[in-house]
Amino acid sequence: MTTFPAHAPIRLAACPPPGLVANTLAIAQRELREAVRSRWFILYTLAFAVLGLSLSYVTAAAGGGMGLSGFGRTTAGLVNLVLLVVPLMGLTAGAGSIAGDRERGMLTYLLAQPVTRTEVLLGKYLGLSGALIACIALGLGACAAIMAWKGDATRPASLIWLGGLSLALAMGMLSLGMLVSVLARKASVAVGTGVFLWLVLVFATDLALMAGAIAMKLRIEELFAACLFNPLQVFKMWSLHAADASLDVLGPAGLYATEEFGAWLHAIFGASLLAWIVLPLIAASLIFARRAPV
């Protein structure tokens, strides 16, 4: 190996790179800004708000009253709306994030800067979480504001619970979406996989639980334990538990859970949703650290 003399060596000092928090926040802010400017954010927010308001009218009418009445019933209706819309939002937003940047060549460029992969992943996660929080807050906030204005806000605590749990569900689905995103090479594949997971979580697992309960003769405690592996089921049970303090509407499994765990149910549901937030994100981080950005 030949070494040639260097010419005019001048010592240039590089700036010390910022720490994890500073870089994560910088990336999060950029991600949040991009997300709130995007069409998906506007469409999801509009859809969420419009559907929420429509649902309020429909449930009120079904209850025999006119206008926005029947807050508990409305909250129950909103739970079902959240179950459909929020997971889709979280999964597709997360799935498109890393894979989209990889496809655009932006990921290579970003990782060529003095940042770590953890900072990039966390930054994107926090930024998108911020966008989802804004979307849910706007959607549910619009419902709450109009319902309060109509004077039927008898149980605002249940709506606050619903908002908080929706955020937790959104963040769990975002984690899962980001796990898909680090695994996929193309954004279209990632988003497609996200939609497929959404279908599985929303529809297939309910059917699988019913089929399993019959075919495998699952005991009631096994059925309840199986429900805890689906974040949507956890969200549904926790929302109803927070609103009515009774899960009897869910049938025998709900009754079993109430009788068996009582006050511990909040902790059990919380741990389950926390696991859905943290575990996919850790898995995404580990895979992202090992995978080439191209």
């Binding site: 040639f4 010419h7 240039l12 000092a13 910022p18 910088a26 800067q113 080439a292």
Partner: protein, 299 residues
Amino acid sequence: MISIRHVTKRFGRTAAVNDVSLDIEPGDAVALWGTNGAGKTTLIRCVLGLFRFQGQIRVDDFDVARQGKLARARIGYVPQELGFYDDLGVAEAVALFARLKGVRSVYTPDILGRVGLTGHEHKRIRELSGGMKQRLALAIALLGDPPVLVLDEVTASLDACGREEFVSLLSGLARGGRSLLFASHRIEEVTALAQRVITLDKGKVTAEIPAREFIPHLGLQATLHLRIASGAREQAARLLREGGFDPQRNGIGLIVAVPTAQKAAPFRILSEGRIAVEDFELLAHTDSHTDSHAAEHTP
């Protein structure tokens, strides 16, 4: 400044970079030369810590594999094509990357002025041309005055005019005592920017040569098509043969193969022999790439 030791990067069974060792001193400018797939971009991505690899790479004594963030803080990187956030404004992009690089005080007009982008700070990135995007990438690479500049075929997506402008900008701005590592398969870039050239083939270093010996090393030939009056062609051919060339006749004059560094020599010989060249065409090409450009002139 950059120490590359026995670096191997495999994709499956294929070694894209195969046991490469290389030292780049402060102020040194090194070109990586080779065909597509030779391993230039892969080696650059290893230096940036984007790929996991066998061997060791140190940048300013920081181990790229273990201290990637610190190593990259010493590097300004310009990619082949800027896959940027299109919705971002130019000034926003500069501010974002200044923040990521830990550059505290940034006056965007100055930064953009260095690369000829004055007045474009309020534009969205999607509104910039390819050449402007590359200038922006260079401006961002120079944020914080990193001691190493890494360029990956930075003019590949530009047209001829944009290429010339960008190389001219680079030769003025990029150096300034920095170490420069760049991949290219354009001779004009290599000769304008490099002090030495590492040639790669199938991931292996095949030669390491000073830039001044690069063109002779490649064995480049240019072809001159000379239009000469029919009565003077015989004498012109004789004079050129005496001058060491091997002219071939065509219907309107002579065709002469010349080393690219001696393209003017046939004109000198013919001028001294008082033979007028009515017109000429120059075709330059390498033996390994089709990177031809023709120029027509009327003397």
